[in-house]
């Protein structure tokens, strides 16, 4: 097997992992702290992409588009939190699933009404186009940008959660919810803040991938389930777990797609290998989750109890 190819795929896997992490970080926090299953997280991923695309096309600048998208996503997230989500914290998981699925339908149709069904493409500024070569290895600059931004966000979150007072509260909340109110913390404000941070990270993920795949209706709905798999594998409420699991899933998915058919071709016909491989690589992620749940029901890095 070609080493350069493996390396290229590793970078692709890393990029997918980073993206999954941006989506999962907010999901795992809202889940861990507020005990909220939020499918509508997918909608912020989509909205981030669409708002960024609209901003980019209007102002003819990707960077302005990004700035606008982050601000508007945050405002929208705050509004949704106040209007809907805040009423769901005390409900059981089923109610949350249904209500946030309703939000997805509303967001998808809303986007269709505003921007039409076609989706929006985001033109990249020349700085971010082009490739960098490391010897044999040629990598599009923009993919490196995604990876860099994602790592930066991961580092930022690490700092926020582990080195600040707010982070202390977040960690406390993730392992023991009652403790927060007994500490006299304004739980409402903390919840809103966590929700908005999570939504903005998801939006950031969406707008980062959009220049590659375009912003399209329901783009988050496909990846949100994978993001849930990530937080289950990583351990609900754990940023570190989400990061590790996102990278694992990113690599498994990418390498599965890239090399599984070659692997299968050793012991079945090329024809069957070509059709079986995509299905099997899609299943791999779920098999991994099932195995981990059986082996460690709390995931790889559950937040420490008490």
């Amino acid at each position: 097997m070609d080493f350069t190819l493996v390396l290229t795929q590793a970078i692709n896997g890393l990029q997918l992992g980073i993206l999954l992490f941006l989506l999962s970080a907010g999901l795992t926090l809202t889940f861990g702290i507020m005990d909220l299953i939020n499918l509508a997280h997918a909608s912020f991923y989509m909205l981030g992409a669409f708002i960024c695309a609209a901003g980019t096309l209007y102002f003819d600048s990707f960077f302005i588009g990004v700035a606008i998208a982050i601000v508007i996503t945050a405002v929208l997230a705050l509004a949704v939190e106040k209007l809907v989500i805040a009423h769901l914290y005390v409900r059981d998981h089923l109610d949350q699933l249904l209500a946030t699925f309703g939000l997805i339908l509303i967001a998808d149709t809303g986007v269709h009404l505003i921007w039409g069904p076609a989706g929006l493409a985001i033109p990249l500024p020349p700085v971010l186009q082009g490739q960098i070569s490391f010897g044999e290895l040629v990598v599009p600059v923009y993919r490196l940008v995604i990876i860099a931004v994602g790592l930066l966000m991961a580092a930022g979150l690490y700092w926020l959660v582990n080195k600040t007072r707010a982070g202390m509260l977040i960690r406390a909340g993730a392992s023991n919810r009652q403790m927060l109110s007994s500490l006299g913390i304004n739980v409402q404000v903390l919840f809103s803040a966590v929700f908005v941070i999570g939504a903005v990270l998801a939006g950031l993920g969406g707008l980062l991938i959009a220049p590659i795949t375009e912003a399209s209706i329901g783009m988050g709905n496909d990846i949100i389930i994978t993001a849930f798999v990530v937080i289950i594998i990583g351990g609900i409420g754990s940023i570190k777990g989400a990061f590790v699991a996102a990278l694992i899933i990113g690599f498994i998915d990418t390498f599965g797609r890239a090399f599984l058919d070659t692997l299968f071709a050793f012991f079945m016909s090329v024809e069957s290998a070509e059709t079986a491989a995509p299905a099997v690589s899609a299943i791999l992620v779920y098999v991994l989750m099932a195995l981990i749940l059986v082996w460690r029901p709390q995931g790889l890095f559950p937040p420490k109890l008490r």
């Binding site: 269709h112 069904p117 076609a118 493409a121 082009g130 490739q131 590659i212 375009e214 990418t254 995509p278």
Partner: protein
């Protein structure tokens, strides 16, 4: 009490309104995708149908007609449900439309079982052209394999010796791959079938990396709808346009080109594709169609639009022959089989399986006189071509 009464009244209202509106003599059902990303195609088809209705002044064979649009939601099951509804509730005379092979496969029996005619304005799966062919099925498009077979010939003509192929993992995708394999004489160095459907794969980085590493002379792809745009961007971003020339079928069309132009994807200028039709095809009916479409909607029609436009005109030709009487399906079938109308592709005939026997052309992506990107026909690749599955059809 009051509340219940209101709900009852509201339900009754919902029941009756749509029914009261149907007063035309001839009803045509048109199933396409109006929601999800696939709606890009569906809207183009609907626009073309509406243009045809307008040009016919809602009359065919001396009778008034109307077209009832239904949304398949990009799902075979939904497509089947709305087809059933058109047949059983709206009592349409003919059903047309169908972008996706899988939606068509799920739905066509609902129509043929009721002994009505179904006209595909796009999908052309191999099964329905061959083994499962049905006398009540007609197509105004092509059999899935034909366009890629033309592509295979084009690749031979361009001297491509080794080829990498990518297509989505569904019926049409596999048909496309099979089509190229039938005619391409060089070597296949790799092939990827990617995930398709509601959660289709849109990040092709892994596959493009493989394609590049394969050292092929050319890359042949099939990515209809929104996946096409995504694919082209990544192709360009990966800097492949200098290394690995792109040959595409149903990927670059009038729907994706404006967006690609907006996104400054100039790497695709000059890339080639194969098709039974092109906006600049020199046929009077086509010139008129493209001009009126551009005038009404301010953009080039896609082949989806052209096929839908043809579908309505095909039906109109049958209505003219039968004085608008669609009650006898045998007569309707015979009339349709003549294909006696001014098609946007020029004259063509129907084979035994009711698939058109027609020419296929090579098209190149160029900028037109106004600077808008479009495609231009460069050569005829296949002449009066009949699909290979016609031999398997027992009609």
């Amino acid at each position: 009490m009051n509340k219940n009464f209101l709900i009852g009244a509201a339900l009754a209202g919902l029941c009756s309104t749509p029914l009261a509106a149907h007063a035309a003599d001839i009803k045509i059902g048109f199933v396409t995708t109006l929601t999800t990303g696939g709606a890009v195609i569906g809207n183009d088809m609907r626009d073309a149908v509406n243009l045809a209705v307008e040009q016919l002044d809602s009359t065919m064979g001396g009778k008034s007609f109307e077209v009832l649009f239904e949304d398949d939601g990009f799902k075979p099951e939904t497509g089947k449900q709305v087809t059933d509804k058109l047949i059983k509730e709206d009592n349409v005379d003919i059903v047309a439309g169908y972008i996706w092979s899988n939606v068509l496969m799920a739905s066509y029996k609902s129509v043929t079982r009721a002994d009505k005619i179904i006209i595909s304005a796009n999908a052309g799966p191999s099964a329905i052209a061959g083994k499962l062919c049905n006398e009540n099925f007609f197509s105004t498009s092509w059999q899935n394999n034909q366009t890629p077979m033309a592509m295979g010939e084009l690749l031979n003509a361009r001297g491509v010796k080794s080829l990498y192929m990518m297509a989505p993992n569904y019926a049409a995708g596999k048909d496309m791959v099979a089509g190229i394999e039938r005619t391409f004489k060089g070597e296949f160095v790799g092939k990827d079938l990617t995930k398709w459907g509601a959660d289709a794969q849109l990040d092709f980085s892994a596959e493009l990396a493989k394609a590049k590493a394969s050292g092929a002379d050319g890359l042949a792809v099939f990515y209809p709808g929104k996946a096409g745009g995504a694919f082209i961007k990544q192709y360009q971003q990966a800097g492949l346009n200098d290394v690995l020339p792109l040959y595409s079928v149903f990927t670059i069309d009038s729907i994706s080109l404006p967006k690609l132009q907006e996104g400054k994807m100039d790497g695709i200028l000059g890339s080639e594709t194969s098709m039974f039709w092109g906006p600049d095809l020199d046929v009077p009916a086509n010139k008129a169609f493209v001009a009126s479409f551009k005038e009404k909607y301010g953009r080039y029609p896609s082949h989806y639009a052209a096929q839908s436009f043809d579908a309505i005109n095909l039906i109109a030709s049958a209505a003219d022959m039968l004085d608008g009487d669609f009650s006898d399906t045998d007569k309707v079938r015979d009339a349709l089989k003549k294909a006696d109308f001014d098609s946007i592709r020029g004259d063509f005939t129907y084979g035994n399986n009711h698939m058109p026997i027609q020419n296929f052309y090579a098209r190149k992506v160029v900028a037109d006189a106004d600077g808008n990107w479009t495609t231009s026909i460069t050569k005829t690749v296949l002449e009066s071509h009949q699909d290979v599955f016609a031999a398997e059809c027992k009609l």
